[in-house]
Symmetry: D2
Subunit: 380 residues, 4 copies
Amino acid sequence: MVRQFKVLVLVLASWSFSSASRAEAQERGSRRITFPNVPDYLTLKCDLHQHSVFSDGSVWPDIRVEEAVKDGLDAISLTEHLEYQPHREDIPHEDRNRSYELARELARDHDLLVVHGSEITRDMPPGHANAIFIRDANTILQEDAMGAFREAHSQGAFIFWNHPDWVEQAPDGIARLTPLHRQLIDERLLHGIEVVNEQTISEEAFQIALDEGLTVLGTSDIHGLVDWEFDVPGGGHRPITLVFAKERTSEAIREALFAGRTVVWYRNQLIGLPEFVEPLLLASIVVRGARYLEDSKVVEVTIENLSDASFSLRNLGDVSFQRSTDIVTLAPHEETTLGVKGASLGERLELRFEVENALVAPRKHPEIRLETWFDAEVLR
Amino acid sequence: MVRQFKVLVLVLASWSFSSASRAEAQERGSRRITFPNVPDYLTLKCDLHQHSVFSDGSVWPDIRVEEAVKDGLDAISLTEHLEYQPHREDIPHEDRNRSYELARELARDHDLLVVHGSEITRDMPPGHANAIFIRDANTILQEDAMGAFREAHSQGAFIFWNHPDWVEQAPDGIARLTPLHRQLIDERLLHGIEVVNEQTISEEAFQIALDEGLTVLGTSDIHGLVDWEFDVPGGGHRPITLVFAKERTSEAIREALFAGRTVVWYRNQLIGLPEFVEPLLLASIVVRGARYLEDSKVVEVTIENLSDASFSLRNLGDVSFQRSTDIVTLAPHEETTLGVKGASLGERLELRFEVENALVAPRKHPEIRLETWFDAEVLR
Amino acid sequence: MVRQFKVLVLVLASWSFSSASRAEAQERGSRRITFPNVPDYLTLKCDLHQHSVFSDGSVWPDIRVEEAVKDGLDAISLTEHLEYQPHREDIPHEDRNRSYELARELARDHDLLVVHGSEITRDMPPGHANAIFIRDANTILQEDAMGAFREAHSQGAFIFWNHPDWVEQAPDGIARLTPLHRQLIDERLLHGIEVVNEQTISEEAFQIALDEGLTVLGTSDIHGLVDWEFDVPGGGHRPITLVFAKERTSEAIREALFAGRTVVWYRNQLIGLPEFVEPLLLASIVVRGARYLEDSKVVEVTIENLSDASFSLRNLGDVSFQRSTDIVTLAPHEETTLGVKGASLGERLELRFEVENALVAPRKHPEIRLETWFDAEVLR
Amino acid sequence: MVRQFKVLVLVLASWSFSSASRAEAQERGSRRITFPNVPDYLTLKCDLHQHSVFSDGSVWPDIRVEEAVKDGLDAISLTEHLEYQPHREDIPHEDRNRSYELARELARDHDLLVVHGSEITRDMPPGHANAIFIRDANTILQEDAMGAFREAHSQGAFIFWNHPDWVEQAPDGIARLTPLHRQLIDERLLHGIEVVNEQTISEEAFQIALDEGLTVLGTSDIHGLVDWEFDVPGGGHRPITLVFAKERTSEAIREALFAGRTVVWYRNQLIGLPEFVEPLLLASIVVRGARYLEDSKVVEVTIENLSDASFSLRNLGDVSFQRSTDIVTLAPHEETTLGVKGASLGERLELRFEVENALVAPRKHPEIRLETWFDAEVLR
């Protein structure tokens, strides 16, 4: 027989998990994308690159709004191509703001932010770029590419480079900075880069983001239906950018994007700078309790996953686990209990993991530490 | 527009995949456990530690036979405790061979091998051990533990140490070799060790296997129902030992166990010596084709997973992938196509991966190389 | 635009649905069998014909207890064959009460009633019969079949005829009363009959129950595993007898069985006397609300199904439905809203249905009426 | 022990089931709607009432084509409102044929017929009507409703009354013929009627079809997404019209519609005239074999369901079934074996069923007879 002691558990990083994030976790039956907030910031789910029939997409803006509501997004942008209007014969509208205006109106009944944006659509270089938080798309439509960037900038736009790895524009699918991009960055006309676009990811784009201080973005670039493109009924999800914002407003999202506070959510991977990935991991993977089993000298540690990610954690610590190899799996929104063996018990137990499904640089996976304190009396 | 060239593909390790293994792959809708054969050997699925009402289990041997048939096993052993007979009041049979004889008779209508075995059930040391391929369980039931091992040995038994990490017998759940175990090994009375037993895995037992040259085993040690204990309807599986045997006979399994040719299949992990894990990985993960897309300079490589494992592969090579981070996932019995970027193309393309869900030593994951040749003309 | 009036709804048969039954409904994710209580009685879920290794079953009694707990049963009986002991060589126990005693002991930690019973196992006539609520199985084991029935009767047993349609004993699978059965009934030695046994149903047995005033029973007669025999993981369920008892005790079940208060639950069918089927239907199918849509003159009626049955209701009333033919389907534990057209509106709306998946005599399906009152003001 | 005789089985109605229809049956894993052909005719799956952004729908025509391909339809029609163009501000196209022309072009790469059609959109009477197989939609757009019908007619159009039960136009949701409709019918300007539209069914419309000899139609009238509106990922399907055509061409569909050869497929119900419903049922429900079990005098009859319908069959014959009440369920594309009891065996066995999920008049369900012949020698 095994006597079991309940022990007092303190989690070092005692960030408060709002009851809201728990409620979100319980919505997991639905397709709503769910990640917890992080200390000091709300985690806003944004898809800032989409198309409708107003450029080369296949749906009216109302479908984009409904998809976003079903996915539980906080913000979207319909970034129609300024220079590419294949439906022009049927939709001859000269006003490039029209798609935004319709979407904003349609979103009025929902709790969804619509960001005013447009896609500057050029040959490489500079390729395609999204300007968002603009005031007037029409004036950005200019002969000269640099003129377009400057006009967007003068409107206060956040501008990011789209799919720099697109094989139509990037020979061999490798994202590479050109002198023109260098100029755009130097003139502070380019602020972000798509590391993930639709189905693709670019390690090279990620490295450019790190080297140049560009904000990391992931977008669906959806033209058809989100459900079909990303197999939502089969459990898939569109790529989005998690934006860590001070409040749930367009202006706060803009501030966060300029400050680089993002993590991309792509095919069960979390991709971004360590200073943003790590708080998100620690908000998502939470020690719920620990107890010392005196007879077996095993410590049972219960960990809860508050996120949509299925985590794969590689054990880096001195301990081993009764029911798991060094690769520990945490299913989305579930609890798991680890039987920890070999802990040199003081008042503190620390678990160290490499998070295999998170990236803080190309091929670099972050390390997290989960700590637990025991009440001294228990161990006496 | 992208022109696409079909290229001739040769896979270096041109092991033949029998059409049988493909047929097996197509059975994937069922609960049958499926792994491909390896060069020179059949991959036999064995669960060599189980109980029935004839010791402390809860079912008649017919249920054990039916479970094994449903799981597609090749061989089982009902290893009743020699010294622990809690149902003795109701089942006073003195013949410890009875369970085996019933199972063998019940298996006659099925394509299932039943191995004659018994569990020597002692306090630690030496703890519990299974003797299989015995002739008579009754004579193994002796006062002296060493006598039991010697009698089993004299019958030609393969003997393995059960759950050396069991907290009832191993303080703190850490498997440790005692002088008595040392003596058993030295006298060639102990040939294998359970690295996996029921729900638990022991890194320490794995290390002992490596250090002492003991055969690596994983067993269900089932007492109740396999379906319940391992959540088979929910997609779970019992732990088994994959045995690489020259033919599908009891004698060939015995030979393979003494030769140490095993890999354990436990919670989506493949665990064993590198010389057996690696051929199994290369038989399971097969390049089905490659084509060079001239315009984009991307090579599309199609890989098929012929096994029940959901593989997690970490890219170690120089290339990157269009639609995946460095962690590539291969679903069981499915094909996936990788867009390979950055390959320095000669006639040969090599992909290098660390297989995260395989272990060749505690915390050591094997590396595999998948190679493809191109027809020189294509690249001219 | 359609103005909508909330109307006061009164359900005629204002039986109180305990919050317990609603809680049960919410357990629908599990395999627990769930039916609501009826006026004056608890609805107890009973499987009163099962076997273990103590006759010709394949499991120890603990598995029977665990299966019952998983299925949410209230009561079971392990009715081992008195005269058929194929495991006698291994289990030579002479005490025919042993299986009951073990099960009772094993059930102690669960909220499960174990009824003491035995199967009198004879050639036809009289065939097999279960005697339950006995005191001592051993004295029922007699040379003379009538002696066995009389002894069971003298112990206060409720006795029912097992599988009267069994092709091994009933030529052509048709249940037929013999003179011996007539005698048993006349002497009040036979009180019930299995209309459902394992996989089979017998319309002829149902007719005999009606003609002779025998209690209607359905049982699993399980020998192997409930999960396999009735495909529980695939959504199947074992046949059980719903017993309408005054309290949750063995004695109350016995009283209810003698009083004939039962309904059989078999492959989504509810089978029994109209006086018991109909209250169960009315407790299961509940009008949750109605509202009159003034502009369209349609009445929206919301119906909730509080049971595990998937109901198929055939419209017998004067109204028609906007979104359904005359065959209305109610999924288990879900709400559905019917748009009722053509109602001649007074203060009362009555829906009339034949319940296709319920039987109150061979090929006779019961009719139910669901009534709703409106607040007079709303209709002015 | 039961000896079993294989008997020669002849099915009376020996319609040939093309191997194509069996192949289709095996596609049942997909969302493709599948029904077998009937004697003399192909069973074509048609959705002849749909909208795109060219009237008040939310998608470009390419999505309509892709939905149809995914659903395995043979023919669609994009029937934009002639008189209702809410997107006119953005899509000012005056050519009412534009939607058809785009869809026809987009369908070119698929095996999909696109029928030229338009919705005449008027207040009641006559309400809305679809004219399909037209030559020019523009000339149908006329001030006078009768003029529109006459112009469509002069183009050879098949014209049907849309959603006659629509609560916006039909007070109380009851379809009623007005003098204007009478005139249209008398002048042969109205040929069909929607008994099913989107989510609704109208028994009254069905009765009008029967009384007036109008062709029975069911359509999705989709404006948004088929997947969302009809819960396709959850197993739902859009309403369609099965058209029994001599070949797979637009002209053959037109001929069949004028001849009234249709059955509607709506929420698992098959609705139409008995002369078309019954052949479809007999092509869908097929006796695959029968064998007489001599000892038990039971006849095992194996029935295969070649369709997407989940059939509910009510036994009307003299026999009873071992494993089913009088309500027999046949899952889509599965086989079931009935143990038939009480058959007075000659050379012929006939099963009689009412098909609960088919309608040949309001509240009237068709009867089918399934016959089997035995080889005389077997019964000797």
